[in-house]
């Protein structure tokens, strides 16, 4: 009973800190980026780059454009929000002296860190949800328009019903699908890993700028982690590399998260289906990183003097 009430007490404290962090970030007017996203989204509807397309493939090209630009923008916004918000959290609390007030109370430092991070993740989640809503709405409208146009074109050419059904299926596979929602969620998962990593860095970093730069650097490098792993295991072009190279690639692949796994969104943009099992595995990977980095942050932060 005591254990349960203890857990509830922790959860309640984490909830309060998360809500406070979320409000604090919202007050920093981060949602202005949504205006930029809307502009990108609208523009992607009308980008008519000169290329070779027949009337049949024109529709699908537009839908792919919308998804490509939207998910690209979501990735960038989620990355920037995660890293910058997390990097700002601790220094801002120190600057405002809020941190001393909180730590003077019976608030475990783990609860403080988890709460702050959850506040950032809540902000990223809400931002992605809003962008997703805009993208899905625009995509749905555009898919319906293209479907009507293309089916009418096919009917005017006397296509048989079987061919029209294939055309319809092809267009719908590029519309708002469950896999597309899965892709947006994988953007969130990747953002949550980089946010928790930024939290760890900020616990021993002396400046916001350092945390931000290192986090971005690790993010980019993390996309090549699979290649390093491949060199170490001898599965890539690295077969026959010297001990030094293999050792370095081992260190690299052990220390840096594998962000490439979350690039499944490229395949979804191209109309592929993402099975739920894959999404669950990706969630598991993200959860693993999240828990580890929060515990590691706590390990450093627990004895930190202010």
């Amino acid at each position: 009973m005591n254990a349960l009430s203890n857990m509830l007490s922790h959860a309640s404290r984490i909830g309060v800190i998360a809500r406070h962090a979320f409000t604090q970030l919202v007050r920093m007017k981060v949602f202005y980026f949504l205006a930029f996203f809307a502009v990108i989204l609208i523009a992607s509807n009308f980008f008519s780059l000169p290329q070779h397309v027949g009337p049949e493939s024109e529709g699908v090209r537009v839908l792919r454009n919308i998804k490509s630009w939207s998910l690209g923008a979501m990735t960038l916004f989620a990355l920037v929000i995660s890293v910058v918000s997390t990097a700002l959290l601790l220094p801002k609390d120190v600057e405002d002296r809020t941190l001393y007030t909180i730590l003077a109370k019976p608030v475990p430092r783990l609860d403080y860190l988890a709460g702050k991070l959850l506040g950032v993740l809540l902000l990223v989640f809400v931002s992605l949800a809003l962008m997703d809503l805009l993208m899905t709405g625009a995509l749905q409208l555009r898919t319906n328009m293209i479907l009507t146009e293309q089916v009418a074109l096919a009917e005017s050419r006397g296509w048989p019903a079987q061919d029209i059904a294939i055309l319809r299926e092809e267009i719908l596979s590029h519309g708002p699908t469950a896999s597309l929602q899965g892709a947006v969620f994988s953007v969130f998962l990747r953002a949550s890993i980089i946010a928790s990593l930024a939290l760890l860095i900020s616990t021993f970093s002396s400046s916001t700028l350092f945390t931000t730069n290192i986090s971005f650097l690790i993010y980019f490098i993390g996309h090549f982690q699979a290649d390093a792993r491949s060199v170490f295991t001898g599965g890539g072009d690295g077969t026959g590399d010297g001990l030094l190279i293999r050792g370095a690639s081992l260190l690299f692949s052990l220390a840096i998260p594998d962000f490439q796994l979350f690039n499944v969104i490229d395949a979804v943009i191209e109309g592929q289906v993402m099975p739920l099992a894959i999404l669950l595995k990706l969630t598991l990977v993200a959860l693993f990183y999240f828990v580890f980095y929060v515990l590691a942050s706590w390990f450093v932060f627990a004895k930190k003097e202010f």
Binding site: L49, P50, V53, W159, P160, S230, L254, F262, F299
Partner: protein, 327 residues
């Protein structure tokens, strides 16, 4: 514990965590690549070619965007007729977006059709070099399409495109033996049909290729009868094949009865069969066509001087002849 020791413990924990997750991540990575959700790894030569954009490409959702921009660049090269640059461009584009059919299709089309046509008419080159460049571009377009199929084996449209290229009257002599090319075209079309999501006309195109493979007339006739019944297909090519292959099956049968069983009217039969007789470059079988035309001209009171059979027919289109004339 001092701060230094604390950081050392942290570093050890990070590495230990890496060792725990590595097998799982490696397995997941293999699963994702096998299912096509992750593209093949970018090769070093790719990173060399795209230079600074490599970092952008490493971002999820950006590979397709960069491919779009390079496709735009390829369009520019096409306007300037820089064929080697187009080939390089599409090699890179399909590295970035290997699952997008459009890029495989367009890259192949540029090489096998646009580049080939350019060399056919490029008067600045000697005939021998033009011929070689014409043939090479068609073969590289075919190779590019086949690479696209290997990367997307379940894409029926790419198989269909290969079938079309291999049976194209203007290209077929680049492939060597026409009978072999028609056979391969039929196989490609049928692979698309067997996938179950191809268009109705794909199976008709398969028939048109099969009908031009010497020795497979009986099989082609059975297929023509089946498709004619199933799809109610009354295209000119379908009707002419029903006639020619039917005649091949039994040359002793009365021509008038065969005509009446295939065509809606004798006027229509004359129009379709004279068209077939003159379309020599398409290499369709012409069994019994001369007999049918003789009979129909007599029936329709066509003056003997105006007989289609007296017209001089063009030989099958062969760039070999074209290049020889130019020399």
């Amino acid at each position: 514990m001092t701060q230094g020791k604390r950081y050392m413990v942290l570093a050890a924990a990070v590495l230990a965590m890496g060792a725990v997750r590595m097998p799982f991540e490696k397995g997941l990575d293999n699963d994702l690549r096998a299912s096509g959700l992750l593209p093949p790894r970018l090769e070093v030569r790719t990173s060399d070619r795209i230079g600074q954009t490599f970092f952008a490409v490493s971002l999820g959702g950006m590979r397709t965007l960069v491919a779009t921009i390079w496709n735009l660049r390829a369009f520019g090269f096409f306007n300037e007729q820089k064929w080697e640059d187009i080939e390089e461009c599409y090699d890179l584009i399909v590295d970035l977006a290997p699952r997008t059919r459009y890029y495989w299709d367009t890259g192949s089309w540029h090489q096998a059709y646009n580049e080939a046509s350019y060399y056919l008419y490029d008067s600045t080159l000697p005939a021998l070099r033009r011929k070689q460049a014409w043939k090479d571009s068609i073969l590289s377009g075919r190779a590019f399409l086949e690479r696209g199929i290997r990367n997307n084996p379940g894409d029926s449209v790419l198989w269909e495109r290969l079938g079309y290229l291999l049976s194209d009257s203007n290209k077929i002599s680049a492939f060597g033996d026409p009978a072999k090319a028609y056979q391969e075209s039929y196989d490609a079309y049928m692979t698309a049909v067997e996938m179950g999501n191809s268009r109705a006309l794909t199976s008709r195109f398969a028939l048109y290729s099969l009908a031009r493979v010497p020795g497979r007339e009986k099989e082609a006739l059975a297929m023509a009868r089946r498709l004619h019944a199933e799809q109610n297909a009354n295209t000119a090519t379908m009707l002419s094949l029903l006639y020619t292959l039917g005649y091949h099956e039994d040359p002793a049968q009365p021509v008038d009865k065969l005509i009446d069983s295939v065509f809606p009217s004798r006027e229509k039969a004359y129009e379709i069969l004279t068209g077939l007789w003159e379309r020599t470059r398409d290499r369709y079988p012409v069994y019994g066509v001369a007999q049918a035309i003789t009979f129909l001209e007599s029936e329709l009171k066509v003056p003997p001087a105006e007989s289609v059979l007296k017209r001089e027919l063009l030989p099958p289109m062969s760039p070999e002849d074209y290049f020889r004339q130019e020399e």
